[in-house]
């Protein structure tokens, strides 16, 4: 397996998708986590329901919803053509874009919750102090708040990356020939090619990768904080 360039490519694709998913989750999740941590308890409780609701809806249902939205005759293409922005439908799924749209939506709660739990603990008086000493809001955020939220960033990004490595349903339904992830090959070899030996070997590779990154997680974040 390690000598076949085809499988190395799949491994690389898996890393690439997991990496992009964590970066985009971070960019989209950070502002929302900031909002959650700066409003009162009642509002943050309400917002949390919105954030957690997708968490408790079947991944299959959510991915199917994206198929309805992103398909060639889907809702988004339909709206864009009707409103005159497009004349031919765009390929929004069966490619990297579709996979990322679906995966980021599923992984966002895994980013927002660790960020929120760290941000909630940041002493807001520090920010007031910084501003009263003459720093502008931008500097205050960049030099005080952002570094203090670093543990949450590390925890969120690593968690999203680790869980994304093993994703199966979403890339299988929204992905195309160029976005084959390792889990999909495992299932394919197992159910269709019936090559159980090979599929077990790939499973061991995925398990090994997960353990390696969990060790990194343990080093930087601490395994105790995996769910908080």
């Amino acid at each position: 397996m390690f000598v076949s360039p085809q499988y190395l490519k799949i491994l690389l694709t898996t890393f690439k998708i997991a990496f992009f998913t964590s970066v985009i989750c971070f960019i989209l999740g950070y502002p929302l986590a900031y909002l959650l941590s700066s409003v009162n308890r009642k509002t943050s409780g309400l917002l949390l329901i919105f954030i957690l609701f997708p968490f408790w809806t079947s991944i299959l249902v959510r991915t199917y919803a994206w198929m309805i939205i992103l398909g060639r005759n889907g809702i988004l293409n339909n709206l864009l053509i009707r409103s005159g922005f497009l004349s031919v439908p765009l390929d929004l799924m069966y490619n990297l874009f579709g996979v990322l749209v679906g995966m980021v939506q599923i992984m966002l709660p895994f980013m927002i919750l660790p960020l929120f739990s760290v941000m909630r603990g940041i002493d807001r008086d520090l920010l007031k102090a910084s501003q009263s000493l003459g720093a502008n809001p931008f500097n205050t955020f960049w030099k005080i708040f952002f570094p203090l939220s670093m543990p949450g960033i590390k925890a969120g990004c690593l968690l999203v990356f680790i869980v994304s490595l093993g994703f199966f349903i979403t890339p299988a339904l929204l992905g195309g020939r160029k976005t084959i992830m390792i889990s999909m090959v495992i299932e394919d070899q197992f159910s269709w090619a019936l090559d159980w030996g090979f599929s077990s070997a790939l499973t061991m590779v995925l398990l090994f990768l997960t353990i390696v990154f969990l060790t990194v997680y343990n080093r930087f974040v601490g395994i105790r904080r995996i769910i908080t």
Partner: protein, 255 residues
């Protein structure tokens, strides 16, 4: 102030991105079109009729309910036991035990599925309700463990000592004192266990054999064709999630 507007705008868009796509399935499920079409040309219940008149869908739904109910009972029982011993017991290597208990949440589900399949094939329990229940329980116990442990964190042990010193035995103390106090945690853990089992796809795909559960049947259909009946099934599943999340929120509020 422009920064502030941009900030709220981003937050709003992200919130919509999280929730709106899910609800778009519901109007589509009432469409009268024969294929997926947006906006729906008219109102009709035909996809719900096609679901409730199809023997295969109903059989799959029945199987899913059966498995989910037994899983909920088993996972809640095991979750309470593991949480009690973890929170109370004088255990060594607590971090490691915690990690082991949560590992089904963290490790790729395909790895767990292949492992369970290999084990079940030897035992010959592929395609049985028993096999599905055990598989789903493995996936659900961590969620019960987390919610019950959270309920036990702020628990005052003194009440139990009082009960014991007044002559109640351990079991009676647990049933009359401990359980009522941690009940919101236990109930929300049980609801989560139910939804985990009811929505579970990947493990079931490997071990349900030819007797599909609802999500496995859905998976098979989504992969082969885009059949609008799935919009009706999806809408029903979304309603179930809303009901379950709503009830856990009520339970938490009561606490």
């Amino acid at each position: 102030m422009n920064w502030k507007i941009a900030f709220y705008l981003i937050c709003g868009v992200v919130l919509l991105y999280l929730t709106l796509p899910i609800f778009i399935v519901i109007p589509m499920s009432f469409s009268s079109a024969d294929y997926l079409q947006f906006p729906p040309p008219g109102f009709s219940l035909k996809w719900y009729r096609s679901f409730f008149n199809d023997y295969h869908w109903l059989l799959a739904a029945e199987r899913s309910f059966k498995v989910a109910i037994i899983t909920t009972i088993l996972a809640t029982f095991l979750g309470i036991l593991s949480s009690l011993s973890f929170m109370r017991g004088n255990l060594k290597k607590k971090d490691f035990i915690n990690f082991l208990l949560l590992s089904p949440m963290i490790f790729p589900v395909i790895v767990i599925s292949i492992a369970i399949y290999g084990f079940y094939a030897k035992l010959g329990i592929i395609g049985t309700v028993f096999g599905l229940v055990i598989g789903h329980t493995i996936m659900a116990v961590p969620f019960v463990f987390v919610t019950v442990s959270a309920a036990l964190t702020n628990y005052n042990m003194e009440i139990e000592y009082a009960s014991l010193s007044l002559g109640a035995n351990r079991l009676k103390t647990f049933l009359k004192i401990t359980l009522p106090i941690i009940r919101p945690g236990v109930l929300s853990g049980a609801l989560f266990a139910f939804i985990i089992s009811f929505d579970e796809v990947v493990v079931s795909m490997f071990i349900s054999g030819w007797r599909y559960t609802l999500p496995v049947k859905m998976w098979m259909d989504v992969r082969s064709e885009i059949n609008p009946t799935i919009t009706a099934v999806s809408s029903l599943l979304i309603c179930l999630s809303v009901i379950i999340l709503g009830s856990t929120n009520l339970l938490m509020r009561k606490k």
